[in-house]
Symmetry: C2
Subunit: 144 residues, 2 copies
DNA sequence: AATTATCTTGGAATGATTCTAATCCTCACT
DNA sequence: AGTGAGGATTAGAATCATTCCAAGATAATT
């Protein structure tokens, strides 16, 4: 079941909520992320727009700006692996990431109920975490 | 109980094992990491050497080279937060990191027995992870 | 001592991202 | 329709961490 926010429609509403405009560029960038769920980099989003919808004129600077805006509006999360380029992910539900080193691809791992709570519980007294990030590294078989 | 490798003595042995020399610079850099367990960046290691041991002539390029070498020899781990500069950590035992956003400091969180195994067990079939990284973000109280 | 391999180094190059300052839209109000 | 204000987009410069490079220093081996 996909979150209601993860739709092109949610975008305008969410932007308006921050006093921002649902411009063509923002729609295009968000659309690419929704359709293309392999955690693309800014570069990849840019290339994707260039090749698949050459009519849409979007500059690199704008791709960065739009992605930043989407992150601010909590429509998109950014994920970093090592010092590689930042990747963008429209899956807002808590999840872990699996980085397949063989193919250099990333995909989401759903978390069983209670896992996050359990993780928080390992923190020593006085620690107040507002987010946890879990990254697996390895190889995922052909069955994936 | 500190791992036997986490000593200046372990360095020469471990380097020799890879056919590398225990140079002055490598000893200095490793020494800084051992004494300075707050996950310093390359820049911070460099500054530390400059101020605390001005006699040791070590260039920035060499700091990077030495850190890289130590990582290759499994004497040191590198840790990244967002896209900030890479940080270095001589704690080789599995542990999580807590990033205190108020003070922008990082510290290690020990993992209870079995947690890593449990985390691996949430992976869908066909996934073979060879490492897991856990990063908490938040603030740690004064008691820390 | 000569040869060879390893190390260190300053500075140039790289790559992702951010900044800047100019231009472009869009909308409300005349 | 015309104007003005603020938001949005853009090309290109600037930044920052890191890597690369080519040269010189150091140490080990012959």
């Amino acid at each position: 079941m996909r979150n209601v926010l993860e739709t092109p429609e949610g975008l305008a509403e969410r932007l308006a909520h921050s006093g921002l405009r649902p411009t063509e560029q923002r729609k295009v960038v968000y659309g690419v992320l929704l359709k293309n769920r392999n955690h693309p980099t800014a570069d990849e989003v840019f290339a994707h727009i260039r090749s698949e919808m050459p009519s849409a004129a979007v500059s690199m600077a704008t791709v960065y700006n739009c992605l930043e805006t989407l992150v601010q509006c909590n429509l998109v999360r950014q994920v970093n692996f090592e010092r590689g380029p930042t990747r963008y992910c429209p899956n807002l539900r808590p999840h872990a990431h699996f980085h397949d080193e063989a193919t250099d691809t990333i995909h989401d791992i759903e978390l069983p109920a209670g896992l996050l709570e359990q993780l928080h519980s390992i923190l020593p007294p006085g620690h107040q975490a507002n987010s946890v990030e879990i990254i697996f590294r390895g190889k995922s078989g052909p069955s994936s």
